[in-house]
Assembly symmetry: C2
Homo-oligomer: 145 residues x 2
């Protein structure tokens, strides 16, 4: 597996161990991780800290020029919130672990010029499926269902 997708998956696993929704992300600039994060709905009672948002928040305030050279790696297809954030900051490239558990706004991203690659990674998928079976209500809450 790509080392950065592996780092995102490591974040997702950390979230699972904490009792949270196992989705992780890393923001990579010039081959270096500048922000790591995972979903914090359960842990922090947060409505906005999806994995991608947590990674962006942990990267801190960055100039536009940095975001425009970044790649976002995330274990699950980004929802409309996270996709909107990717668009806000002009992040040009997104690598997605899997989109079988949830199909996010990949088409919107592509229509705005973002390069989206889906790895169809089995480990990302299995972790997500395990959680959805264990805690379907928490999962539905996270995607507004």
């Amino acid at each position: 597996m790509n080392e950065f997708l592996q780092a995102a998956l490591d974040e997702a696993k950390k979230g699972y161990v904490e009792g949270g929704i196992p989705i992780g992300s890393v923001l990579v600039h010039n081959g270096k991780i500048i922000g790591r994060g995972h979903n914090k709905r359960v842990q922090d009672g947060s409505a906005i800290l999806h994995g991608e948002m947590d990674a962006l928040e942990n990267a801190g305030r960055q100039p536009a020029s940095v975001y425009r050279e970044c790649t976002m790696y995330t274990t699950l297809s980004p929802c409309s919130m996270c996709s909107g954030t990717i668009l806000l900051y002009g992040i040009p490239t997104v690598v997605v672990g899997e989109n079988k558990s949830f199909m996010g706004e990949e088409e919107l991203l592509r229509s705005r010029g973002v390069e989206v690659t889906v790895e169809d990674n089995q480990e990302c998928f299995e972790l997500m499926q395990r959680f959805i079976q264990e805690k379907p209500t928490v999962w539905n809450e996270d995607i507004g269902v």
Copy 2:
């Protein structure tokens, strides 16, 4: 002025006094404010706490059924991040103070069935203009420019 837009403007003013970007929002459910917030980029060094996001975070974890009966009042047209979040949670109605300082994703929201009203409020506009003239670099950072 509508009392809820006034509450959003009060949040924006609070942000201005704190030295932050003066954008405020309130989330209203059945005629009651369940979350208030304002942009925290400067105050918290946050890349994701726009006014709308802060209001949603302060509303805490809510079931989907609550969001679907909410109206988001915000002093400025919501950017792609905040619009994506409105879509994630299925918030059906958005009232915008003004969109002359910044035009957000109003068309995307409308295309997905969200009712967006723009009040063209002079006080929201003047507060925003004052900040943009005083701290243009911080403002540009906030919108990824």
